[in-house]
Every structure is written in structure tokens, then in C-alpha cells.
């Protein structure tokens, strides 16, 4: 069969990224222009600034991606773009660029769900086999799903309130760590011990997650300590939080291993970059003799290569989008 080259565009949050992906697996070139330093000045992503920076970067990122691959848009078989979920103003920048390229070069347009992109980051250097469990952990999502085949999902559970990445960011703020909160909490936790007795998230028997109670407990703890003029052992608190937050993920995945009999797990989303999460999931998978896939660090965070990987099955099925493709802040994978 002829090789399929897809130009993929990702602009859902604070990274302008493009990639050329061959047959859904081989990353021919990847460019990521991050805005992280700018948003760090404001303690978090400012949507309007993100949209402005995407607009300024978009053709430069395209130029870089094409040059690194030594390819032209004419060589592409399709144009893929993240269309949901994300910041709509930011998504629109990537979408308009993609639609224009699709029109001008008469290429199929493929709208891709960002979360499914995170899952397919695991298919770049490994081969996903079905059925498998997929744990999606990011700033906006915490979900456990069964994937029976390409684009066939069945949800087991999801967060009832905050996403795990959101909880990391809020804890970072409360204990005075800078944006991006998640990686900074993880770093600080390395210096601490699990000494704080924090409440376990959901004690029920479902596959759902909940992180708002844990977050509130930490906010109260810090607040009360300040009032009593007691010192908060920040590293210990970071560690204690991380243990409870991640153990909850482990507990639910273990339940799924036991109840579904599935022996494969992929972890997807920004929080999959967390080392403690990786270690604990590896231990669990060893215990159940299950296979664990976690993307390499470069593909854990937002990037267009995963969008190209996720677009490939849609390309094969000819599930193309028309020029009415629009951005959406919501984006259920089911």
C-alpha cells in the first residue's frame, strides 16, 4: 500500500505545534512552539494571549515543519487538525489554517479530538493492541475507558468534579509554586515524605474519580496552619497529595484489570509525564502481568504528532470533515 503522509496541526492550548506523520506511526518532523514562559507571568494560561500567540506563530511553525521534513504540502495525503476540546479561540487559529490548506491544496481535512490524540501518542513508537484500557489524565480530564478497537470506546468512569491535572495546579498555587503547577508539585514531592493524612477521594465502588475533596482538604490545611502560625511542610504535603491522587488512579485501574480481564493499559494526557504515576502503574501492571504503554515524554504533553497518529485511522476510513469544521471547548471521546 502507498505510504500516507498527514500534516497535523495542534493549537488547543498554549502550544502551537505541527507535524508530518507517515502511516500514523512515523514522525517525519515535529515542531512545537510553546508559550509557557509567557503564561507563567500570569500564573496560568490566558486564553486571549494564547490565541494571539498562535496567530503569530502559525505560518512559522508550518514553515519549520515542512523544511525539517524536506517536504511540500503537495506531498501530503491529508490535513489533520485538533478541533476539540480546548480553548476555542486557540483552536480556531489551527482550524482556519488547516481548512485553508485543505481548500487551497485540495486535500482531505480530518478533524481530530485532542484526547483521542493523547491516546494515539501511544501508537507512535509502540503498537496499540485491542482490547485495552486507556487512562486519560490531564488538566481537563480524568477518565478510564475501554478501547475495543480503533475509535471504539466504552467509558468505565470519569471525574465527578476536578480533573487530576487541575488538582495538581491548584495545590501548586496553594503551596506557592509557580505555573506550570503539575511538574513543580512533582519536583517538590521528591524531597518530601508521605506524612500528612489526607482524605481519600472517592470511597465508592464505581470507576469514577473525584479530586475536589482532596483539593479542599489541602486548601483548608494550609489555611489553618497559617492561622495557627504553624509552618507547612510543603515538600511533605506535595508528596502526601501525590500519593493519594495517584493511588486513586491505581485503585481504579486495578479494579478494571480484575473485572474486565483486559491485560493492556495505555496512559494518556499531560499527567502521564508524572514519574510517580509511571512507577506505580508499572508495579500494578507487573502484578497483573499486563502490558503498560506510556508515551515518551515528548509525546506526553501537547504535540501535533499525536494528532497525526490519531488522524490516520480516520483517513483510512475516509471520515473526513468539511470546511464547516468548527472549534469546541467540549469534546467527549465517545
Amino acid at each position: 500500500m502507498k505510504d500516507v503522509y498527514i500534516l497535523a496541526i495542534e493549537s488547543s492550548c498554549d502550544e502551537t505545534s505541527m507535524a508530518i506523520v507517515k502511516n500514523g506511526k512515523e514522525v517525519v518532523s515535529l515542531t512545537i512552539a510553546t508559550q509557557m514562559d509567557t503564561h507563567a507571568l500570569y500564573g496560568g494560561v490566558v486564553p486571549e494571549i494564547a490565541s494571539r500567540m498562535h496567530t503569530e506563530a502559525i505560518t512559522l511553525v508550518l514553515d519549520d515543519t515542512l523544511k525539517k521534513a524536506n517536504m511540500k504540502i503537495e506531498d501530503m495525503d491529508g490535513i489533520a487538525v485538533t478541533c476539540k476540546p480546548g480553548l476555542t479561540g486557540s483552536l480556531i487559529v489551527g482550524i482556519e489554517c488547516a481548512k485553508t490548506l485543505a481548500l487551497v491544496y485540495n486535500k482531505p481535512l480530518i478533524g481530530v479530538n485532542h484526547l483521542i490524540g493523547h491516546i494515539y501518542a501511544n501508537n507512535i513508537e509502540n503498537d496499540m493492541e485491542f482490547p485495552m484500557l486507556a487512562l486519560i489524565v490531564s488538566g481537563g480530564h480524568t477518565e478510564l475507558v475501554i478501547m475495543e478497537d480503533h475509535y471504539k470506546f466504552k467509558r468505565l468512569g470519569e471525574t465527578l468534579d476536578d480533573a487530576i491535572g487541575e488538582a495538581y495546579d491548584k495545590v501548586a498555587r496553594v503551596i506557592g509554586l509557580k505555573y506550570p503547577g503539575g511538574p513543580n508539585v512533582e519536583k517538590l514531592a521528591l524531597e518530601g515524605n508521605d506524612t500528612y493524612n489526607l482524605p481519600k477521594p472517592v470511597m465508592d465502588d464505581t470507576y469514577n474519580f473525584s479530586y475536589s475533596g482532596l483539593k479542599s482538604a489541602i486548601i483548608n490545611l494550609v489555611h489553618n496552619s497559617e492561622q495557627r502560625k504553624e509552618e507547612v511542610r510543603r515538600a511533605d504535603l506535595a508528596k502526601s497529595f501525590q500519593v493519594v491522587a495517584i493511588d486513586e488512579l491505581v485503585r481504579k485501574v486495578e479494579k478494571a484489570f480484575r473485572e474486565t480481564g483486559i491485560k493492556r493499559l495505555v496512559v494518556a494526557g499531560g499527567v502521564s509525564a508524572n514519574k510517580y504515576l509511571k512507577e506505580e502503574m508499572q508495579k500494578l501492571c507487573d502484578k497483573y502481568q499486563a502490558e503498560l504503554l506510556i508515551p515518551k515524554l515528548l509525546y506526553c504533553t501537547d504535540n501535533a504528532a499525536m494528532i497525526g497518529a490519531a488522524a490516520y485511522p480516520l483517513y483510512l476510513k475516509k471520515e473526513f470533515s468539511d470546511y464547516s469544521l468548527n472549534a469546541s471547548s467540549e469534546g467527549d471521546i465517545l
Binding site: I58, T59, E96, S324
Partner: protein
């Protein structure tokens, strides 16, 4: 010489084709759904005039001010075509485009929900003071006369831009004028 005109700065989405600065087709969609409509409309106008993108010699884009997202849509399309197809791009603000209707020194304004974007132009239609944005309250106490109009003559715009330089598509960006408020951490 074939020119493509794109204006997405506010509720009227306008795409037009000109040949040697004479209008040959103009399409307008009034909506707040430019992100859905713009590339569709571009496709439609090219098709029905039997024109390929490679027949276009110049893209004229309104680069603002107005709706932030709206302006970005036109600008991103112009940048993308300009860069990939190596087609010349020229940008003009909607205020300057309006000023072309007056052969005298003039302050032109366009309203949005919360206030007025304005610019002062000399009789040669060049901007003589920085663009400004006044809230509806500030406008009440503004001393000088602001002329509001919403009618851009696209042929005049094309003629005016004839002697202006092209802009490198990579450097083309929206003219926002209005500041955004964010707290520093």
C-alpha cells in the same frame, strides 16, 4: 491582475474578487459564525467564478480592529495562503478603509458593543494619531467629531493599496487596538 478581498473583522463576513481593481464578485454573510462560514464562502466564490487560488495575484485583508476572533480568522487565512502559495498580501485597517471615503482630515469610528474604535486620518488617508478605543462612557465626553460609517468601497481600497508595500505573511498580524486586562501573578 486578480485580487481577493477578505474582511472578517465584525458581524459582516465579506469576501470579494476584483480584477484590476474592479469588483467582479462580492459575497456577504451576516452572522457570528465566521469560523464556520469563511473558508466555505471562499470556496464558493472561487468555484462560481471558475477561479483557482493560483489565479490570485494579491490578497487584501482587513486586519482589524473589531472582534478579536473574527479578525484572526481573516488574518490566518491570508497568512496561510500568502505564505504557502507565495501570493502577495496587503493589509489595511477597517478604519483606514472607511477613511478613504473622505477627502479631508477626519476621525472615523466603528462601534462594538462596549465602545468605539477610532482613528484620525489626514486627507491623503494616512493615519496621523494612534488608533484608540473609547468605552461608551468615554465617548460621551470625547471632544472631537467622530464620523461613523459602515460602507467600505472595496475598489477604493484596492486602488489605495496599489502603491503600498506587500507584507511578509509571517509578520502579518491583527490590529487589536483594544487592550485586554490580565493580572500579573
Amino acid at each position: 491582475m486578480m485580487e481577493l478581498y477578505i474582511d472578517t473583522h465584525y458581524t459582516d463576513l465579506v469576501i470579494a474578487l476584483l480584477k484590476n481593481n474592479k469588483l467582479i464578485d462580492k459575497r456577504v454573510i451576516n452572522s457570528n459564525k465566521h469560523s464556520i462560514n469563511t473558508v466555505n464562502l471562499l470556496n464558493e466564490i472561487l468555484k462560481s467564478n471558475n477561479i483557482g487560488i493560483d489565479d490570485i495575484n494579491l490578497i487584501i485583508v482587513i486586519n482589524g480592529p473589531g472582534s478579536f476572533t473574527g479578525v484572526r480568522i481573516g488574518v490566518v487565512i491570508a497568512k496561510t495562503i500568502g505564505y504557502t502559495k507565495n501570493i502577495s498580501v496587503k493589509a489595511i485597517s477597517y478604519l483606514q478603509a472607511l477613511a478613504l471615503n473622505y477627502n479631508k482630515e477626519v476621525i472615523v469610528g466603528i462601534r462594538d458593543r462596549n465602545g468605539v474604535f477610532g482613528g484620525k486620518f489626514n486627507k491623503e488617508h494616512e493615519l496621523i494619531e494612534d488608533y484608540f478605543y473609547l468605552t461608551n462612557k468615554e465617548v460621551e465626553s470625547y471632544k472631537e467629531e467622530i464620523i461613523y460609517s459602515d460602507l467600505v468601497d472595496i475598489e477604493k481600497v484596492a486602488m489605495f493599496l496599489k502603491n503600498k508595500d506587500n507584507i511578509n505573511p509571517h509578520l502579518l498580524k491583527p490590529l487589536y487596538v483594544k487592550r485586554i486586562e490580565v493580572d500579573h501573578d
